[in-house]
């Protein structure tokens, strides 16, 4: 037996022992509840990943593993369907948080409130309400809940559906969304990327982050974009002809969407651009202190 082969065997044994130790340091979580179709679920979970999945059953099922020594409070399933659930899982140490992962299946019409520390949260197929609050992890939402509130301090937030009502906030995390009826997205230094869908009302705002807008406008849509120093890149359809009102304090405005050119501000600083629109073409307002505004066709 060669020395290299011995080395490989020893390495494999060490890895197997380490893996077994890790598994041993975890505890399984499993519980199920009969619920109403629009049950309210409140979950505080300090684990590494949380998946919330909407399904066609009137029940909530929680599965997963958490670090050994975690505080777990999942309540006791009752006899009849419950209208509200409170679930709590807290890891014993900051390091142990990453070891845990949870999958929570809820009725599609459920209202889910979830608060975590550094979890990566994914929610899919929920048509009720989602209120997701994460400090350091990311949030990804598939599907179109009726109401969505997603807040992350420095994690990215990605929404690939079109919720009826949506408010997304980050401090440094990037925001990606695909439209909806009533949208609000706000960040300090993250970017906002809105493209691929349609919107009725939107307010996108950043302090230093870039804003990219390439959504179709519903009839009579109202869209506001505002930044202090991030660039705004707005792509608008030439068919819908919205009214456009753009102004900067010190930055330039570049309009390659239409032939109307911006006018310089007083004392040569900043620019403004006003373009009249069609009757139901909607209105787009762009405001920037020193971030460049670019209008392009889509």
């Amino acid at each position: 037996m060669t020395l290299a082969r011995v080395h490989r065997i020893v390495t494999a044994l060490v890895a197997a022992v380490a893996s077994a130790t890790t598994l041993h340091a975890q505890q399984k979580v499993h519980t199920a509840y009969a619920t109403t179709p629009e049950v309210s679920v409140r979950l505080f979970a300090s684990v590494g990943t949380v998946q919330v999945i909407g399904w066609d059953k009137d029940s909530v099922v929680v599965n997963g593993v958490v670090a050994s020594g975690s505080q777990v409070s999942l309540g006791t399933p009752g006899i009849g369907p419950t209208r509200g659930l409170k679930l709590f899982i807290e890891s014993p140490t900051e390091q142990a948080v990453r070891e845990g992962s949870l999958t929570v299946r809820v009725p599609r019409g459920a209202r889910v409130w979830l608060k975590t520390g550094s979890s990566d949260v994914t929610a899919s197929e929920v048509t009720g309400g989602l209120d997701l609050n994460v400090v350091g992890g990311s949030i990804t939402v598939h599907g179109s809940p009726r109401e969505l509130r997603a807040e992350s301090m420095d994690g990215a937030v990605t929404i690939d559906g079109a919720p009826s009502w949506m408010r997304v906030k980050t401090a440094t995390g990037d925001i990606a969304l695909r439209g909806g009826e009533d949208i609000g997205a706000s960040t300090i230094s993250g970017t906002i990327d809105a493209r691929g869908g349609q919107v009725e009302r939107a307010k996108l705002e950043s302090t230093t982050g870039a804003i990219r807008f390439a959504l179709g406008l519903a009839r009579g849509a109202s869209v506001e974009m505002e930044t202090h120093s991030g660039p705004i890149d707005a792509q608008l359809s030439r068919k819908t002809q919205p009214e456009v009102d753009a102004a900067t304090v010190t930055a330039t405005i570049e309009n390659v969407w239409s032939k109307i050119q911006p006018t310089p501000g007083r004392e040569g600083r900043g620019m403004s651009l006003a373009i009249g629109g069609g009757q139901m073409g909607g209105r787009v307002v762009l405001r920037s202190f020193k971030g460049k505004i670019t209008l392009r066709g889509m």
Partner: protein, 185 residues
């Protein structure tokens, strides 16, 4: 056979023909948003610490009222209560419009209250979270200072006033969210 239509049926028919919703004119959104702002404060009720909840509600309510006040004052007052650069005598101090001075006092009170709460909880937050919050607050402060200085020199500039108000609101919202973070995050 003639089909009889009752008044109720007629009413139902008419209401069904109405649009599902009617969006208000975009110009009104600023006011409406300011009026709706307390709704976001409802999330505070989830906080188990009553002091935070009380402080949060107070701050959110006062912030909204101040925003409303600032916006209304800006709309109803003459274009600028303070002297514009053109009216200012040479050597005069640049100053903010009066409505913004009032609004700023309120923002300062809200920010102070939130800072005190955040300081109390600082030890329970993860260092990385504190670093993120502080970095973002520095960015917000820098933007506020820049917009404020520009508005002092151009107090009749409505765009500048709007941008300054938005910068304050983002800072207050960031502070509020930081105070609501759970321990050991």
């Amino acid at each position: 056979m003639t089909e009889h239509i009752s008044p109720d049926d007629r009413l139902n028919e008419l209401t069904a023909a109405l649009p599902r919703e009617v969006a208000p004119p975009p110009d009104l959104w600023t006011d409406i948003r300011a009026e709706l702002a307390p709704r976001s404060a409802r999330t505070i009720q989830w906080n188990t610490r009553w002091r935070l909840a009380a402080a949060g509600l107070l701050v959110a309510a006062s912030s909204s009222i101040l925003t409303l006040f600032a916006v209304r004052a800006r709309e109803h007052a003459p274009s600028s209560v303070a002297a514009t650069p053109k009216d200012t005598a040479p050597g005069a101090e640049p100053r903010l419009p009066a409505h913004m001075v009032v609004a700023e006092r309120g923002y300062a009170r809200s920010i102070d209250a939130l800072w005190r709460t955040l300081d109390e909880r600082r030890d329970s937050l993860a260092p990385s979270t504190v670093a993120t919050v502080e970095r973002s607050l520095r960015i917000a402060d820098s933007a506020i200072a820049e917009a404020r200085s520009a508005l002092e020199h151009d107090p009749s500039n409505r765009v500048l006033a709007e941008l300054l108000v938005s910068n304050y609101e983002r800072k207050i919202d960031l502070l509020r969210r930081a105070t609501e973070l759970a321990p050991r995050t």
